[in-house]
């Protein structure tokens, strides 16, 4: 029984994007494609326990979804007398023989449509997780702490806009491609980050479902666009963060900082894959292809995950990478992280001076106060440190991080 459920889940995960993507191209209707794919999965849940898992679960789901789509079009056509669409689908064999590459192109089209810049960012995230990731509306609603009604409306509105404004279902033109790929990667990074450090009081501090989904979709885009350096960089970044997942929260539910994590428990397979990708991009950089933001962030993570002991961390290398990152991403958050490297090299006093310069822009960001608190603690300025911890705790959303900050504050002399 558990095996059957696992088989349904696996087939659903593996085939969902393909099914929705192909059906959308064939009938030009995201809604119909989504409903048919969902019905096929529901039918599998219903029938596989009794009838057994079919020899090729993916093909079974695809065929069933295509039949459901045809049924639906027929029902609708009876009302308005059109026969064209059902005919188009019906003429094709049940499991369509596509030219090689066509299916990958379909999934890419779907991803680009869901991440279209004419849609608001929350809509892009929700639509991507639903249409490409195959997550259900309740699952996505839970992940982003909104009600199912709100999330459902967000998706419905986005689909309606795609239809009404005619957001095209195709891979963008070559001149638009870099900007559009950046948009897709931004959505995937957002999904990953929400999983990496979940913001809600009612959720697990680390949402494995979201990080896994983001990695899966980034792998997909990496497969589809193997030449894209930033796709490789983002995948490496995610893998190197995911490798540390089990060591990031203690048994008592407290966040464990990088220097205190049990490095022997890091996932060596993920680290090896991440390092391989980073090396691939370093080779490209040596050949004159300037790395983007994700590639540099991945390289920083590679330096951390290369150190067997936190004391062996090559901070000079990390600082050099932040200096390379700042012109590409001149955000105060990058400057804050750079200051943490400065603290290791030049001491907390120098670092505190750089951090204090960010006050105007980061006053509402918990990590700013947490960093200050730590630097002040190291300088023996306990009272100021305590005040900074208080502020950080007020602003932090992640339960494990709040637990960590609270303990550090209470340990102050």
């Amino acid at each position: 029984m558990a095996d059957v459920r696992a088989a349904v889940t696996r087939a659903h995960h593996e085939e969902w994007a393909r099914i929705v993507a192909t059906l959308t191209r064939r009938c030009g209707d995201l809604d119909l494609a989504e409903e048919a794919a969902a019905e096929a999965s529901a039918t599998a849940v219903e029938r596989w326990p009794a009838e057994g898992v079919p020899p090729n679960p993916g093909a079974w789901l695809t065929t069933t979804a295509h039949r459901k789509a045809i049924d639906r079009i027929r029902r609708e056509n009876k009302r308005d007398g059109k026969h064209q669409e059902a005919q188009t689908l019906w003429d094709d064999p049940a499991v369509p023989a596509e030219p090689p590459g066509a299916i990958e192109d379909d999934r890419l089209r779907l991803l680009f449509t869901c991440c279209h810049p004419a849609l608001a960012m929350p809509a892009r995230v929700a639509l991507t997780l639903r249409m490409v990731g195959g997550l259900t509306v309740p699952e996505i609603a839970r992940a982003f702490l909104v009600t199912e009604t709100t999330l459902g409306q967000r998706i419905t509105r986005a689909k309606a806009k795609i239809k009404a404004a005619r957001i095209p279902y195709r891979i963008p033109a070559a001149e638009d491609l870099p900007a559009r790929v950046t948009g897709v990667l931004a959505v995937l990074y957002l999904v990953f980050n929400e999983g990496y450090l979940a913001t809600g009081p009612g959720t697990d501090p680390v949402r494995r479902d979201l990080t896994a989904e983001a990695i899966r979709l980034t792998r997909l885009i990496r497969t589809l666009l193997p030449e894209d350096g930033e796709a490789a960089g983002l995948l490496a970044l995610m893998l190197l963060a995911e490798a540390r997942r089990t060591t990031r929260v203690s048994a008592s539910g407290e966040l464990v900082t990088l220097d205190e994590q049990d490095r022997g428990s890091w996932d060596t397979t993920l680290i090896a894959e991440g390092h391989r990708l980073v090396r691939e991009r370093l080779t490209a950089a040596a050949a004159g292809i300037a790395p983007g933001r994700y590639q540099i962030l991945a390289a920083i993570n590679a330096v951390h995950t290369s150190a067997r002991d936190a004391r062996d961390t090559d901070w000079a290398q990390i600082l050099a990478l932040y200096d390379q990152l700042l012109p590409l991403d001149p955000s105060p958050v990058v400057a804050l992280n750079r200051a943490i490297a400065v603290a290791e090299l030049d001491g907390p006093e120098v670092a505190l001076a750089s951090v204090d310069r960010l006050a105007d822009r980061l006053a509402g960001y918990h990590a700013y106060h947490a960093t200050r608190a730590d630097l002040l603690r190291r300088l023996g300025r306990s009272q100021e440190s305590r005040a900074a911890y208080d502020r950080a705790i007020d602003l932090a959303g992640n339960t494990a991080e709040i637990a960590y900050l609270t303990r550090r504050r209470d340990q102050l002399g």
Binding site: A118, R166, D176
Partner: protein
């Protein structure tokens, strides 16, 4: 697919007034590429009149239907294959007339 392309100006921060040559050149390109359906600049909102004849008799009001800092300064109607084409052209249009552009499909 037809789109209404609205030029949005801002009373407190108006776009520059020397854009006509750039707009003319852009219009000629729209015509040459077959996207142009209609275009027109509008007189100021002070020149607008609102009529409401849903009741017993027609009510005539001086001024636009909504007073706002931002207002419609002109329109295009384009016939293009999809939103991507419309948005690419709109980016050029915004440069040409030094104002914000809203792209909205006809239903």
């Amino acid at each position: 697919m037809r789109y209404l392309v609205s030029v949005i100006d801002d009373k407190s921060n108006p776009g520059s007034t020397d854009r006509q040559p750039a707009i003319n050149a852009f219009n000629e390109r729209l015509i040459a590429e077959g996207y142009w359906v209609f275009a027109g600049g509008l007189a100021g909102t002070d020149a607008a009149t609102v009529i409401d004849n849903r009741g017993e008799q027609a009510m005539v009001t001086d001024g636009p239907f909504v007073e706002s800092k931002e207002y419609l300064a002109g329109i295009w109607v384009w016939e293009v294959p999809d939103l991507d084409v419309a948005l690419t052209l709109a980016a050029e249009a915004s440069k040409a007339c030094d104002r914000k552009i809203e792209v909205r499909p006809f239903s």
